[in-house]
Amino acid sequence: MTKEAILAGIRRGLKRDALPEDQAAMLRARLQGHPRQLIPARSRVGRPELVALFVANLEREFATVSRVPDNAEIPGAVAEYLAGQNLPTELVVAPHPELRAIPWDTRPLLHLREGRAEGTDQVSLQQAFAAIAETGTLMLPSAPERPTTINLLADTEIVILRTSRLVGPYEEAWDLLRAENHDALSGGFMPRNVMLVTGPSRSADIEQTLELGAHGPRRLHVVLVEDDPAAR
């Protein structure tokens, strides 16, 4: 069998047989414990500074941000952003309970359709699971209420992020996923897909010169809901 041949080839190179049980147990414990390596100091700051770091990194990566105090202000911020960019007011929206709880009827001109995105959608709206200040990165794990196509197919993606879901380094975001996500199929915590998104789509394949708007969204806009009193 090919698998056995490859494993045997590896062991031949390493000049040993399959690992003895005590060593295998140590490696299993390492997988279970998933120790952290060095974490850069840049994200070890207070909550208000963490928000500032996140926003600075996000903007450096060509995303835009509007900041609102609570749910009531989200529809206005979305409508204002779309009007400012001269974009249509039809949105495909992830069927997420937190997005449903937003009082959209205060802005009757916004037309929302729940579901996955299609190739014809111009604007999409997503709910962030968490965000990583270290590099201005959104964590978007797939789920029935958070389709992956929402992150990919529209020209413009708007993401709702609560400051209470902002962490410093990636490691803390992984721990949130470990603690909060249960995957029924595998019995673990990883959903089918986890996207870490840092800014809008781009390419530098033509003469190594950066151009925005390759195959994914041309624009990425984050509506930051400042629900964390410690971060204000």
Binding site: L7, G13, L38, T137, M190
Partner: protein, 472 residues
């Protein structure tokens, strides 16, 4: 893939005379180097992270059998089908079988160097399945029937006018007199063209930057989002991954990712870093119904336990070629196979044989820049030297070179004679070099002096000078 590595010298001569290539190299390389330097200056812990990256990969390779099995068990729990393949032939057959079972007519592809190693596109086409490259650089390479000239920027050798010309030639449904005002217009045209392919494809093939044992995941890193569209929209996702892509945990992958983008494009983080684990879940509105991982050896296991084991740490960032004076002079195609630059000069002889690729480890000035920028500290110059030794031992080195090396060795083993001979030579050549201190021409040295001047010795040997300084 057909290799022209044995013709490296002829390839290099042609490359140096190719004005378009030289323009592209002069334009692009300084940008890569400056961006990396800036990103690293911005992360004080980068040097420590390089040690950590090296250690994670060493640990993984030392326990690769264990981690492969742990990864497989976790991947299967999430609905993955794993196909173990010893050779490129096995892997091509596995991919074709999956595509046939899916009734595939078109296949979209994310950028993957292992797929170049397998020459999977040719194989699919021969069997009536149309592969469509979706990374912008790979897309134009496919239109031009070329191979990538760089491992992260496949169209490194092309200039803007090449893009415009090719798009006019290939996209015949569009008006021939259309104007590309900016680079963005080229990008937009490719986006529109490829969007239809993404939506129509039956199978999506991507590579993998990492496999994660803890979760059974595969990871891809892109800036365009093409890899994500490739793996999200079709019913079937195939991952091509060589066995050394493994890391133990998400934390280990995270440390490697802190190194990867900074070393590659000089970004802090790529735009899309995506972790795939198995098939579409109950209730999910999108994602593939089948998730296959074709796990490929193709020569890796035979590097373990040899002088070249450290090469298996490579994370394919391309920092070594971006900083290499030889790559900078001849570009990627001259190397004649999939992997160019210093990492290619070490890896290619391992994978296709030193008899075919012996020129590559000789194409080095041993300046050491590659090792100094490698995010996982691979001793590339040492391994190139190891290949030269193997080549010599196997009598693959040209006869004149062997004879001259023999002559040098004879002198070197007789220190008194050696010092006398070098003292005379240094003095004579130093005088002949005159005030300018260099030669336009010298007997038997035309290989050097045809292209540039040869610096003349300063009249004193190293030994003589060392002895003089010691006496002070």
């Amino acid at each position: 893939m057909l290799t022209t590595s044995p013709a490296f010298k002829e390839n290099a001569t042609r490359a140096i005379a190719n004005a378009g290539l030289q323009k592209a190299l002069a334009n692009s390389r300084p940008q890569f180097m400056a961006r990396r330097a800036k990103a690293i200056a911005n992360l004080p812990e980068f040097e420590q992270l390089r040690d950590i990256g090296r250690d994670i990969k060493n640990h993984t390779i030392a326990n690769l059998d264990f981690y492969l099995e742990a990864w497989e068990a976790n991947a299967k729990r999430a609905g993955a089908e794993v196909h173990w393949c010893s050779t490129a032939d096995d892997a091509r057959a596995a991919v074709l079988e999956i595509c046939r079972a899916a009734g595939a007519r078109t296949v979209t592809k994310g950028k993957s160097m292992i797929s170049e190693e397998l020459a999977i596109n040719d194989h699919l086409e021969r069997n009536g399945i149309r592969p469509i490259e979706t990374d912008l650089g790979e897309y134009i390479i496919q239109l031009r029937h070329e191979h990538p000239s760089h491992i992260i920027a496949p169209a490194f050798h092309l200039n803007r006018e090449d893009w415009e010309e090719q798009f006019r030639k290939s996209h015949t449904d569009l008006p021939g007199d259309r104007v590309f005002h900016e680079r963005r217009d080229i990008l937009t045209e490719a986006r529109t063209k490829l969007r239809q392919s993404f939506l129509a494809a039956d199978v999506g093939i991507t590579g993998a930057n990492f496999l994660i044992a803890e979760t059974g995941s595969s990871v891809i890193v892109t800036n365009e989002g093409n890899g994500d569209l490739t793996q999200t929209l079709p019913r079937v996702h195939i991952v091509l991954a060589s066995i050394e892509k493994m890391v133990p945990t998400l934390e280990d992958a995270t440390s490697m990712l802190r190194l990867l983008a900074r070393s590659a494009t000089g970004q802090d983080f790529s735009v899309y870093t995506t972790f795939s684990t198995g098939v579409r879940r109950a209730g999910d509105l999108d994602g593939p119904e089948q998730y296959h991982v074709v796990l490929i050896d193709n020569g890796r296991t035979s590097m373990i336990g040899t002088d070249f084991q450290d090469m298996l740490r490579c994370i394919r960032c391309a920092a070594c070629m971006n900083h290499c004076p030889v790559y900078g002079a001849v570009g990627g195609h001259a190397y004649g196979w999939v992997y160019p630059g210093p990492m290619g000069s070490v890896l290619t002889p391992s994978l296709i044989g030193v008899d075919k690729a012996g020129h590559l480890p000789n194409a080095s000035t041993f300046c050491g820049k590659c090792e100094s920028v490698c995010p996982v500290k691979i001793p590339l110059p040492r391994m190139m030297r190891n290949w030269r030794e193997r080549e010599f031992e196997r009598h693959l080195t040209p006869a004149t070179m062997r004879r001259n090396l023999g002559l040098w060795a004879w002198f070197a083993q007789r220190p008194a004679l050696y010092r006398l001979a070098t003292r005379i030579a240094a003095k004579t050549l130093g005088m002949m070099g005159g005030k300018k201190g260099r030669f336009h021409w010298l007997p038997l040295a035309s290989g050097w002096t045809d292209g540039r001047d040869l610096p003349a010795p300063e009249g004193e040997t190293f030994f003589a000078r060392y002895a003089r300084e010691q006496r002070r």
